[in-house]
Subunit: 112 residues, 2 copies
């Protein structure tokens, strides 16, 4: 599992990226993250749902309720135009930061 801080830094970009592919509901997003990361991005409901509410409050995503034919109803989220722009900014920020770290660690990277 990843450290709390790293999780915090990556939650928003990962969720926005998943939604940039196609709309999805909360529980589905958790499973997708789990799949896409070989089981290492294991979020809980107490992490995900408040995050979705914050993202919606900031206008980065929008939601609609839809019934399910095999269980409780689902709240589907889609990426807004603003959300897509923020995702691009997040990517750039991550890559910028990563290049600083790579520059710092340089050839010392003995990590196999």
């Amino acid at each position: 599992m990843f450290s709390k801080n790293l999780v915090a830094a990556s939650l928003q970009p990962v969720v926005l990226t998943i939604l940039s592919r196609k709309e999805a509901y909360g529980y589905e997003i958790m499973q997708r993250a789990l799949d896409l990361s070989d089981g290492r991005l294991k979020w809980t409901a107490g992490t995900l749902y408040p995050l979705m509410h914050r993202l919606e409050g900031r206008g980065l995503i929008a939601s609609v309720w839809r019934p399910s034919d095999s269980g409780p109803r689902r709240k589907y989220y889609r990426l807004t135009t603003k959300g897509a722009a923020v995702l691009e900014a997040d990517k750039r920020e991550w890559l910028d930061f990563h290049s600083i770290l790579m520059n710092l660690w340089g050839s010392e990277l003995s990590v196999a």
Copy 2:
């Protein structure tokens, strides 16, 4: 400037990396981070000093007071054996996480 979450995720590895080169005092570490990042890692005293205390409390760094011939005395920090091990783990964690993100973003990376 980088987001609060990204700063939180990177503070410990960056400080430990700086100290892995040679011992340094708090104020110096702030300046080194600023230099090493082309001015983008701009930490404040309210961020750095509590962090140094936490790292020392966890046994990752150790400190000694030394007088300065040109100003107030300085508290010099050095990396402990435990700190060096944690730094290696942090690096691995960062690289692991980065590879997940790169896999997620794949060829979509239009970020110039």
